[in-house]
Symmetry: D2
Subunit: 387 residues, 4 copies
């Protein structure tokens, strides 16, 4: 039986793609070597600099975000080099895993998955590395598996305090264009991102923002690479072109997305995500449930991970909500599998869509017999009225 109305895709990415972007990506493909393409290339590259808030370098890959993780590492650290990572959650773990697979030596500072990276721990570790064997510090900005935000600026300060030359590499795949990020101001060296979160596109494009220092450094890095090689990008990019066939139709969408973000204003975008995070937590509290992120001030505006009471299955609840209310919620990953569900409130989203989402969660909790207090929906509504 057909379900009426719109599906609510409330996983923490891909986010629902707005009509304007879907129309843009369905324009006819053009010759990526022809004279009309340069404008597209220039707009996409220059536009992404305004999103990363950088005047340095941006590279765009036809790949998913995982590819941009790999790109960040192979261009910065020679085979066998050490990278320091912080286990904010599943994705931080996966990134360190990837580093190992491609021949680097990742060192993972253990975390409890309930907050962002701890700058003090990073500083301590760097001070202990008197030989400067650590080539890069890798931190996840918005940990998609937990809904926690790392204080990137503080990590930079910690590195500076330790007087350590490692590069600061940040994964903001799910944070960029939803919560504040400032590449240049914060002294980031490489930022990894993807198209299907705050940028509101389907998956298929990924990004590296790169500091001049990291780009210069990459010339001496010996890790074999071709597809991901920044140096091959520089020349063609300057003319608005790419060294190999780009994802033309997604680039159409990217330009539209950048326009949409600026039409709303990045600060308004950030305030909106923050408001929705707070309202969601008001609902969770009223339901008598617990938010996974336990560190105040580090809760994400992108998604909220919610713990279900012991003895109940988060996945069974999600299946019920999907079946009866046509809403997709995110699952708990690895350590928290079946113990949490994740509410995505990112991308092209507004107050009424949030209320629909929270209504779907509350009805799903009710229908699947997860113990909770009714009224979280109204609590969120009251929060939004006051905001």
């Amino acid at each position: 039986m057909r379900q009426a109305g719109r599906h609510f895709l409330q996983i923490p990415g891909p986010s629902a793609v707005p009509e304007r972007i879907l129309k843009a990506i369905s324009l006819q493909t053009i010759d990526h070597r022809g004279p009309d393409f340069a404008e597209i290339g220039h707009k996409a590259l220059a536009g992404m600099k305004t999103i990363f808030k950088t005047e340095q370098n941006v590279f765009i890959y036809p790949s998913s975000g995982t590819g941009a993780w790999e790109a960040a590492l192979v261009n910065t650290v020679s085979s066998g080099g050490k990278v320091l990572m912080y286990e904010t959650g599943h994705f931080a773990f996966m990134w360190s895993n990837l580093a190992g697979k491609i021949g680097l030596l990742p060192e993972l500072i253990e975390g409890d998955w309930r907050g962002g990276a701890d700058p003090n721990q990073i500083e301590d570790r760097l001070r202990a590395d008197s030989q400067h064997e650590i080539k890069a510090v890798c931190v996840v900005h918005n940990e998609t598996s937990t809904g926690s935000v790392s204080p990137i600026e503080d990590v930079r300060r910690a590195m500076d305090a330790a007087k350590h030359p490692a590069l600061l590499m940040v994964d903001s795949i799910s944070g960029l264009a939803s919560i504040d990020f400032r590449f240049d101001d914060w002294g980031v060296d490489v930022c990894v991102s993807g198209s299907q979160k705050g940028l509101m596109l389907p998956p298929g494009l990924s990004f590296n923002a790169v500091s001049d220092r990291a780009l210069e450094n990459s010339k001496t890095v010996t890790t074999p690479r071709s597809y991901w090689d920044w140096q091959d990008m520089v020349g063609p990019n300057q003319k608005g072109f790419f060294p190999y066939t780009p994802g033309t139709n997604l680039l159409y969408g990217l330009i539209e997305a950048i326009d949409m973000l600026h039409e709303e204003g990045l600060d308004n975008v950030f305030a909106r995500h923050s408001r929705h995070g707070t309202a969601t937590r008001a609902a969770v509290q009223a339901w008598g449930l617990e938010v996974l992120c336990a560190r105040q001030g580090q809760e994400s505006g992108v998604l909220t991970a919610v713990k279900v009471p012991e003895g109940h299955s988060a996945d069974a609840f999600r299946a019920t909500a999907l079946k009866h209310y046509d809403i997709s919620l995110g699952n708990g990953l690895s350590k928290v599998a079946d113990k949490v569900f994740r509410i995505g409130h990112l991308g092209d989203f507004n107050d009424l869509m949030l209320m629909a989402t929270l209504s779907g969660v509350e009805m799903g909790l009710d229908k699947s017999g997860v113990p909770h207090n009714a009224g979280g929906t109204q609590a969120a509504l009251e929060h939004l009225k006051a905001a």
Copy 2:
């Protein structure tokens, strides 16, 4: 400044058009005289019979619903002929107005705009018409200006009881495909409808379902007509064609819409609209406001008209809701202008979209200072949980 997320078009039509239909209408136009067109014509005509629940005749016009009102009259009543109408609200009044403009003599039974047509009054009037001067009885099924439903089957019984030969003509522009309608079972002679309500299309197509008796009768009707003439349609329609250029792209969408309705099941569609009507009224009651439709059992599943307290402006409230929460609500028309607002809950719509809608109404009431009790949203949610 751009508003993020989806606009909520919650007027009682046009309803928001689903993606499947938007894609269908954007297919390339084909030759409406060519061999491939016949399948489209046949599918649209046969499909509409399943929606009207008739095995008699359906005609499709490239026009808005107003045109189909005119078509219904010019094919059934000769110039100067009498038609009996019942003032359920603004649209019943407008239809009688149109009858006068095209040279007929409409007689309008006054109503209070707070319920459907009264079969007893109709029966009395018909009994008094011993000369059978009244050629047609015209009733609005779902009065879009008030949110009331007329008991069509009872009107038919009243006409039969009065042993009056007048044709029964029904406007179900906003009722068809949202609330139960049975052309053959109920003994309707002409039903007028349009594309932009329960059929989920953009405006631009309109319909006449026509009984064999009315079609035969039309041969003797002398009112001049060309565009609307049923007789010109019959021959071409039998082969899947039309006497003049049809609205090809909207027909693509119509076929898709009919498929979607049957994929869900018409009974499920009706139950859904009914549930949403009830939930909306639960919210209105909890807000301490009054529903315009005052006759129990005649409240519409398509829309709910809500009275604002004396001294407050429904239109100011609507403007506030639109500005702050990006939701379009219907205005009060003529007699009830600025005194009511109308919540559309029709078309391709589901529980979460309703909750979004009611949240928007409640936040709008709050923001615009219309006196009300908070909590209507949660009241509707409780209703949906229980449903």
Copy 3:
């Protein structure tokens, strides 16, 4: 078996709809009574004035062109009034037929279907009408059934020479936006047009351009009317609205179409159609076939009707071309049924598309055994090279 590549829709309308317009019409429908709609209404109405080249009045109907024919007559001539028409071909005949159906007295000057209307015959007839019983002179600008163009400016001069007060009414359904038309300069009183020809839209919108004189005159016209009534349009149109639900999504497309025409420049649009008409006739001549339009200087830039040799079936040829080369050509209508085929070269069309079209015709002639000389395609190509 699926046929690869694009279908060539080379009938004389509907013309193939460009991607930009298909995308525009698939945008979400909005509230046609809401504040955002006014801009759409204003743009559509003001834009159409630039296409008609008038500073007087334009009305837009959600209907096909046949409706606009009816609208032109019911607003200008009271029931029983005389209209003088000129039989340029099938569509002129159909218009006069319609006039009869709605209660007017059409008088049709016979024509041979091989050229435009003859101003001298019209002048003679008007001079003979000393009682001024003729209320309107109706002429088809571009006769879609024959590919001939009537000299509208000369018809106006003839009417003036005869000092006759009748209104000049022109059908430019297939001429507007493809060949030169100047409402104000040429002294036209009513021009009828439709969306699916030079305007490149799907069918479903139609137009009346109306002189101030005709609009004023309509107040005294007694023919019953409602849907088509100009007077109901005037007030709402001034605010960017319509008296009943408009064809919102086609209006989106119309605005896009008007932009596209001005981006190319109307004079360039006309020159392009003229060049393609000439090139097509060069092909026809090289094939040794005959163009239906026999009056030099009146051949249409919109379409070319071609006679097939006696004893051969134009329809069999068309079916062969469609089956083997996926090209739709127009059929001969009524008097010339099966004797001519029509090549549409209108709308969003360019030199290479014309060459594809003529290649399809030549291959179709060859495949279906219609006697002709090979080489028409190359002849057209040489013409285009020289142009």
Copy 4:
């Protein structure tokens, strides 16, 4: 000034994307971890096996074809390993270049760019490699820079004759789904392809078809890899999922493309490309120009590279054709830069589109003053008539 009508994108890929596919890729993105996704994953993977004609393995990457080149190598040859390549043209050269960049030792057999790979040379080289240091033989099936086809089956025979255990790796980025390719029958071990040629999609997906032997062998290959690692794909693919976020919207399009190819029939697709190649060469011959591919029987059905007479600029000609006739033609690459232009006749293409294309080439030659004989267009037409 806007150019009317459709742009003709006649480069040898990306090919013009058909409407059906553009609509498919603009459907809303869904949860790639949710229950509905599995059907999409299964359809895409199983469907690609029917296109490669294999019952072994297919992997799909969100990347352009260059990524699939890299994937083929990093999964099959350990760092420092030797690969034998054959210089059929620019792309064969680029692939060998890539092999060097990622730490392999490519050996390139020189070619004259005027035909496919020579199996005899390959056999001789393999026989000389008695130590079996060569781990893979890499051949381009359809060389996009020259329009020549390599005899893959003969290469396999040559390898067998030499009793050499190297893997046979084939680039059929521009050949697949346009000209005959049989992965299993021909004994290929890895075939690399991309979405934007015969598969008619925008760029952004790439493919590896992989023999069981190559997949088993990959377990022992030590080249570091993560994004491209086949082994990570196997498990998730079996359930219809991917190890990281896939290019969901392009997968929608891929499924549509596979359906379209089978609706036409692969053999019909191949026959169509072959017919268009022959017709194009008939035109080139009539123009008195020379086709770059000089080996009879190895001319491509995908594209035709044409030499311009000495002293003339192919690029100036292409710019003229683009400006005046809105047709994009492919440029000459590296060794043949400015000396050849390439006519793409691949993808969703038909006889009339080919005639449009050749007309554009002939008009462009004329306009830009490249010496040639008129009449190539008609020569191609005569060929198509006879076909």
